[in-house]
Symmetry: C2
Subunit: 333 residues, 2 copies
Amino acid sequence: MATISDVATRAGVSTATVSRALNGKSTVDPALAARVFAAAAELGYRPNGPARNLRKQETAVLALIIADVENPFFTAIARGVEDVAHAAGYSVVLCNSDDEPEKEREYIDVALQERVAGVLLSPTGDSESVELLDRHATPVVAVDRPLPNTTSDTVLVDSRLAAAEAVQHFADQGYRRVGCLTGPSGVRTADDRLAGYRDGVEATGLPVSEELVRRSEFKAAGAKQAAHSLLTAPDRPDAVLVANNMMAVGVLETCAELGLRPGRDVGVVAFDDAPWATLLDPPLTVVAQPAYDVGAVAAQLLLGRISGERAEATTKTLSAHLVARASSTRQQA
Amino acid sequence: MATISDVATRAGVSTATVSRALNGKSTVDPALAARVFAAAAELGYRPNGPARNLRKQETAVLALIIADVENPFFTAIARGVEDVAHAAGYSVVLCNSDDEPEKEREYIDVALQERVAGVLLSPTGDSESVELLDRHATPVVAVDRPLPNTTSDTVLVDSRLAAAEAVQHFADQGYRRVGCLTGPSGVRTADDRLAGYRDGVEATGLPVSEELVRRSEFKAAGAKQAAHSLLTAPDRPDAVLVANNMMAVGVLETCAELGLRPGRDVGVVAFDDAPWATLLDPPLTVVAQPAYDVGAVAAQLLLGRISGERAEATTKTLSAHLVARASSTRQQA
DNA sequence: ATGAAAGCGCTAACAA
DNA sequence: TTGTTAGCGCTTTCAT
C-alpha cells in the first residue's frame, strides 16, 4: 500500500509538503499542492491511520458501550450518538457489554489501548471499570445510567417520575392493585423505575405489597416467567407496569397464555415505545423515552470534553412521557 | 500515560524484555517476567494500540458495514459476527450505511485508513466502493447481498426460494390473488424476493399482474403507503407477501386502517421473524431468516481469509423457512 | 514556501 | 535469556 513517501517521490516534493498539502495547511504553493493531489489519487494513497494516530497522540473515534444492540432503546441512542459524532468528523465503535461487568471492562480496556478520544458508557453498575477510565484521563459520559461515585457528565431519562405517572394513570383508570415488573437489582434504571412505581403507589393510596413486585433480566424470556408468577398469584394485580419493551413481549405472551386481555383483565403499561405497539390488540400504552436525544446530547457533551472544556460535570435529565393507549383503559369493547 | 519504557525502567529491564514478557513469549526468565508484570500493574500500563498496529502492520479489528442498526435482521447478524470475532480476539466496529452508496464509501474509506484486518459488507449495490477494497487487498466478505462483479466470499439467504414457498403456501390456503410488496429496485434482496414471488405465482398458476407488485424503502413508512395503494386498488389482492419486517409494520397499520383483518380479509406473510409476531392478533406468518448464522458464517470466512487462506471464493447460501401462523390461514375464527 | 530530520511507542531482527 | 537498535508512516519543529 502506498505511503506518504511514495506520493512525495511521485510528486517530486518532500514528505512534509505532501503532509501539509493533504491536510490543507495554508502555506502550500497551489501548483505543488495540485501535483501532490494528483500523485495521491494516481497511487490510491490513503494515509495510514495508526501512524497518524501514533504521531498525533489522538484518534477521532468514540467508543459507545451499551448493554445490547438488539434492544431498540439502545440502537436509537446509537443513532443519536452517531449522527452528532459523524458531523464532527468522529467515528463511533459500538460494543455490547451484555450487562456483564467483565465484558464491559474488556471493552473499556480495548478502548483505552486504542486510545479512543472518548467513551460513552451505559454502565453495568460495576464501579471498577470507571476507575480505569478515570486513571487514564479519558473523557467519559454516562448514558442512561449514572456512573457510581464519579463526577462525569451524565445523560439520563427521568424514568422515576415517568413510572410514578404511569401508576397515577392506572389509578385514574380505576385499577386498584398495581404491580411492577422491573429489571435486575443494581441496574439503576431498574431500581429507578421501581422507586417511581412506589412513589406512585404511595401518592395514589393504592395498596402496597412486596408481592406485587417482580424482577427479571431486561429480556423477554425472564419477564415471561416473572409475569406468570405475578399473574397467577392468589392476590394478583389488576394492572402491571413493565420496565422495558423487551420485557413487555414476555409479559404479553404470558397474558395471552393465561387468557388475560390487556386493558380489560389486566392493565399494562411498558417502558419504551415500539413501532409494533400500535399493532397489538389492544394497542399498548407506553412510556416513550427520548432515546435518540439521549445519544445526541451525550455525544455533544463528550465532544465538548474532548475539545478541552473544563466546566463542572453536568447531568442532563431528559423526560419521558406516557402515551396512553387501550392496554391501560378499562372501558373498552 | 505510561509507556513501555516506563515499565522497563521500573522493572529494571529493557523494553524488549517488557514486550516479550507482556506478549507471553516463551523465552523470558520467570523472575523477570514477574517483575515486569508487577511494574506494569503498578503503572496501570496499557500498550499503545496505534503504536503496536503501526509496527505490526496489522490490526485486530473487523469492520461490519450494514444498512441500519435499527433493523433487527442486521443486529442479529451483528451478534453473530461479534461472537465469532470476539472468540478469535478481534474487535468489531459497526457502521450504518443507511443504504446510501456515499456513506458506504465513506466508511470503507475509514476502514481502509485504519487498516482494519477485514471488512464485512452488506453492499448498497454500488460497485465503486468494492474496487477500493480490492485495490487495497483488504479481505472482504459480502453479507446478505452479493457484491457486484467481484469474486469475494459471500453469505446469502435463499430468499428467492423462500418467497416462492410463501406464495405456494398462500395458494394452499386458498388465496387467489397474491400480491408482493418488496424493497427498492437494485437492492438484491428486494429483487430476489420479487423473483421468488414470481416463481411461486407461475408455479401455482395464480394470476400474474404487475398491478399486484409494489416497491418501497425497507421501512415502515414507505411500506404503509405502498400497501395502501395496493389494497385499495380496484382488483386488490387477497394476500400479500412483504419483503421485510419493518415493512410489515407499515402493511399491518394499513390493514388496520382499512379494516382488513389479516388472514380473513387479506393473507399476510412477511420476511423476518420478530419477537412480537406472535403477539399480534392474528399472529403473523413469517419467513424466518437465520440472521445470526449469516453473521457467524461470514465472520468465519473472513477470519479465514485474514489468516491467509487462498482457496476459491465461496458462496454460502443459508436457507430461510416459513413459520405458518394465523395471518395466512383463512379458516380462522 | 519548502525540506531535513526527529520522534510518537512498539516489535523484531540481530548481537551478545 | 537479554539488550541494542532499526524502523513502521506520519506530523511537526527547525532551518533554509
